[in-house]
Amino acid sequence: METPEQIKARLEAALPSAKIDVVTNDCAAGERSLLVDAASGLAVARFLRDDAQLKLDYCSNVTGIDWPDKELTEKIKVKQIVDGVEKEVEEVKKTLRPGFLEVVYHLYSMELKHGPVVLRLRTGNRADQTHVPSLTPLWRGAEFQEREVYDLYGVMFDGHPDLRRILMWDEFEGFPMRRDYIAPDDFEYEPTPHDEVLEAAKKHYPTEVKA
């Protein structure tokens, strides 16, 4: 199968308006993925499905990821004049990476027996720009998984035929798999609390827990 770089080159030739990046991965498998801007996501996905060399006719998995706001620290060397002498001083540069939500599709080809090609779509932020195009019109099997991502992460899929909650009840408010979701405080005593449970235990049974 083609490498992500080759797919990217062909995609850029076919769809000049699409912004495509190859996301590297530091893990042992080192599986790289294609990051596509949300606006051209549907066109890129259609190309991947219909292209004669790829024929990615099977969407095996749809995953959501929540990336909260994060402060990135970077050490850079800056030339400064200290006591009249020019020196290289290390400075810590802090940048705030705004948070976003990400949807990951794992695509395979049943016909050509290859895969996976990993496709990532990102939303603008985590609050009001949470829209990405739905790929259910292309792969019918993505319907329930996209509903699950909507249910737990709050990603709005434009063009989804039936975007409702699937695991949580309809009256539920909030998106429980987001990292800043706080579950209702319904602590029940445990003899060996730890981590967050320990914090809750201290709050509910202040005389019992000594840690």
């Binding site: 009840w169 309809d170 009256e171 408010e173 909030g174 579950a183 209702p184 029940e188």
Partner: protein, 203 residues
């Protein structure tokens, strides 16, 4: 009432006596019909228990009924999610008296590995009066058989009269329990305080 010692002595002489209470409880205990009802992996063990190898039929509990109207025993086999909890309570309410509940597995007892999660009920005893709880994840079929034997023992010791008589013979004990409603974050109420109170620590 006949004294236990006298009863034994008579039995040695070949005279068998019984009371209406014993006869009634004997009949009840040996025909506990469970509800066909599984929620998660524990249900697989429940099925295994009813199959030939473990043979729940030896205890008169093999007739799994597909309708709550015909069942005596609800085996809560598996994880009770908050979305499922109102349905479980409603099915329990639809069972005729007398009715018993076995909480099977860690999830049904306390929420198990999902106890700190956002969508799993922290034990079915928050809404239903559980008679027997089986620990295990999942419990083996022998454990379920043991639970049914424990329940049989409990039924055999039921009283027909008096203030501590069996639940179904007491008009003051409710036969239906509150069905929780879906709330914005949690079930409302998150526990039925008539059935369940938070555990008090005893030192």
């Amino acid at each position: 009432m006949i004294e236990a010692g006298l009863k034994n002595e008579l039995q040695k002489q070949g005279v068998y006596v019984t009371t209406l209470e014993d006869l009634y409880n004997w009949g009840r205990a040996n025909s506990v019909w469970p509800l066909t009802f599984g929620l998660a992996c524990c249900a697989i063990e429940m099925m295994a228990a009813s199959m030939a190898r473990f043979d729940l039929a030896r205890f008169g509990a093999e007739v799994f009924r597909p309708s709550p109207r015909q069942a005596d025993l609800m085996i809560v086999a598996g994880t009770v999610t908050k979305k499922m909890a109102p349905l479980v309570v409603r099915i329990y309410n639809q069972m005729p008296e007398p009715k018993y509940v076995i909480a099977m597995g860690a999830c049904a007892i306390s929420g198990g590995p999902f106890k700190q999660g956002y969508n799993v009920l922290k034990g079915v005893d928050r809404y239903l009066p559980v008679d027997v709880a089986i620990p295990g994840c999942p419990p083996r079929p022998e454990a379920l058989i043991h639970a049914i034997m424990t329940l049989q023992e409990k039924i055999l010791n039921q009283k027909l009269t008096g203030p501590d008589r069996a639940r179904h013979l007491n008009a003051d004990v409710p036969g239906e329990f509150l069905v929780p409603a879906y709330g914005k974050q949690d079930l409302e109420p998150s526990k039925n305080t008539e059935v369940w109170q938070p555990p008090a620590i005893q030192r």
